[in-house]
Amino acid sequence: MERERIVTDVLIIGGGTAGCYAALTIAKESPGTKVVIAEKANIIRSGCLAAGVNALNAYITPGQTAQDYVDYAKRDAAGIAREDLLLSMAEGVNRVTEHLEQLGLVILKDEYGAYAARGKRNIKINGENIKPLLAEAVKKQKNVTVINHVNITDYLLADGGIAGAVGFHVDERKAYVFLADAVLCATGGAAGLYRPNNPGFSRHKMWYPPFNTGAGYAMGIRAGAEMTTFEMRFIALRCKDTIAPTGTIAQGVGARQINAKGEVYETKYGITTSERVYGTAAENLAGRGPCYLHTEGISESQSEDLLKAYLNMAPSQTLKWIESGRLPHEQDVEIEGTEPYIVGGHTASGYWVDTDRRTTLPGLYAAGDVAGGCPQKYVTGALVEGELAAQAILADLGAAGSPLRRADEKRRRLREERIATETERYLGEYEAHLSSGGSPAMFTAEQLEEAMQKVMDNYAGGISTHYRYNERQLHIADDKILMLQKMTEKLHADDMDELLHVYELKERLLVCRVVIAHLAARKETRWHAFAENTDYPGQSDEWLKYVNSVYRDGKVKIRFRELTDTGKQERAEVYGG
């Protein structure tokens, strides 16, 4: 396999929301620092913003404070969220919003020229082109090189920290070796772990990008980074079939959640994010489904506005209304809960980071959906995290005698040797899957993926069990996922596209194991639906703590952390050791 070696100051893995903004921040604050973005697709439309967004969900509207946002997010997470992370994020969301407007984002204004608010924390935009705007800004930066269509699979560990990463081109038979003084992980979260709402032809019509396969989590888990709160799964309440957003309807035209009998049920179960999903699942379970957003009777002009609003972010919903022959004012919109996802931008699963977004591995930083402890960040929060991580990187690289620069000649040589060994190992794995000596095509990555989704659905609280699970089931899930992991070793790939699918499956399986271990470790039901443990159906103050984990010797080792912990001492331990 051909290989290319790229040396840079900073490597950003993933050119989505957080990754692009980190690059822009470094370009602005330190134009002499070389940045490389390694992106699996092409930054023009990659990541969560591909289809567009219709509102910025994290904005501090007049009369509100950053602390109000922190309090809201913490309440919604039933206490399991890092205040330090939430505050530093909330303090930056208005700043990055103004920057987005300068880049060309259309934001709705009121009669006085201020941003028009949607509720306490949202503002309305035309976000159809939000990702191209960000991508264009990145492409203009002279010190930033974007390498599209490269799938990163592993970090390179050397000299007690992260020294780069390896990956391969998704079409050409070519491997990439990146050497960097600092690495920012901004790959996003993980979709496709559980059997989806539409398991057949439309299997990828899901809430979260199906191309976010948990690569960043898996790389960190394998490298021994501490992870947090994987048991706080995210389940979205969405329009049936199209999995389009419901907030635009609920908040836009004030539609209430009703059951098949026409009863408003949303007030019965509570209004946190998880309670809204739980209520819908509970109504279905009680035989009162399907559930709807009550739009029948809204005005025709509201109906038309909804058609346009959805074209800007979820065109399938507009198409569905038109195909059915009945527009939103003529029929209620059926809703359902999605399959669970692992995503640090809505819930709090991800890398355990310090206040500045340093992970527990020296030289490695995390921002956006892959970073844990900081739920409800959405687009603007991900941008802020990209900014904060970039600033931490610049501070660490610029510090006198920075360990990241590795100036010492002897250490530099040792590091090179270690990197060479690691590189050969990972590239050897690629070759093994591609070589014709692989197993006969009895099992494919697609087949094993279906098996994984079935296991997670049946035994780890998927849609089919109304998100509920118990310890016995989790045990079964872990055994079966472990077996599937072993089966992936022999998967054969005919070309790079198939190799990509093999690696995406491996990533997902490893993330599944950590999810299962975390679900089993939290012996309570802290959040309905998100983590519904039928062995422990209640909430307990004893569990007001973080469930963290470190992967070592093929096992997920759980460790608990106090709510006051800010990730600082972890770093000291790693450096000291």
Binding site: A41, N42, I44, R45, S46, G47, A50, A51, N54, A55, V106, I107, L108, A116, R118, K124, I125, N126, G127, E128, N129, N148, H149, D171, N198, G200, F201, S202, R203, H204, K205, M206, P209, P210, F211, D241, T242, T248, I249, Q251, G252, V253, D305, L306, L307, K308, A309, L311, N312, A314, P315, S316, T318, L319, K320, I322, E323, S324, D497, L500
Partner: protein, 104 residues
């Protein structure tokens, strides 16, 4: 739910290949775009928007209530035109001013 690429209209410019966030679209031996994994489409319509020839249309799978309508789009200045053609060939167009923010 997926996309349909017209071989007749495709000029092989690769814009859709670049735009797809899932690396799903490839060029065939004749230099025409095709979707290698139709079931893996997320439905983001990035390719539909990037295509300058309206060669790519978006449709709902039957499992999502699709009845054969197709969605295409093009942009003129600040206006984006979304055209929906149903199975009988009846067309309807929705125009969205990109300078207008969503009111909801």
């Amino acid at each position: 739910m997926s996309i349909f690429i017209s071989r007749e209209a495709c000029v092989g410019c690769r814009r859709c290949v670049e735009a797809c966030p899932g690396n799903l679209i490839k060029l065939d031996a004749d230099g025409k775009a095709y979707i290698r994994h139709p079931k893996d489409c997320w439905g983001c319509t990035s390719c539909v928007k990037e295509c300058g020839r309206e060669a790519i249309s978006f449709f709902l799978g039957a499992d999502m209530g699709g009845r054969g309508s197709r969605l295409t789009t093009h942009k003129e200045g600040d206006f984006r035109y979304w055209k929906i053609t149903d199975a009988a060939g009846l067309e309807q167009t929705i125009v969205v001013n990109q300078k207008d923010a969503n009111r909801y």
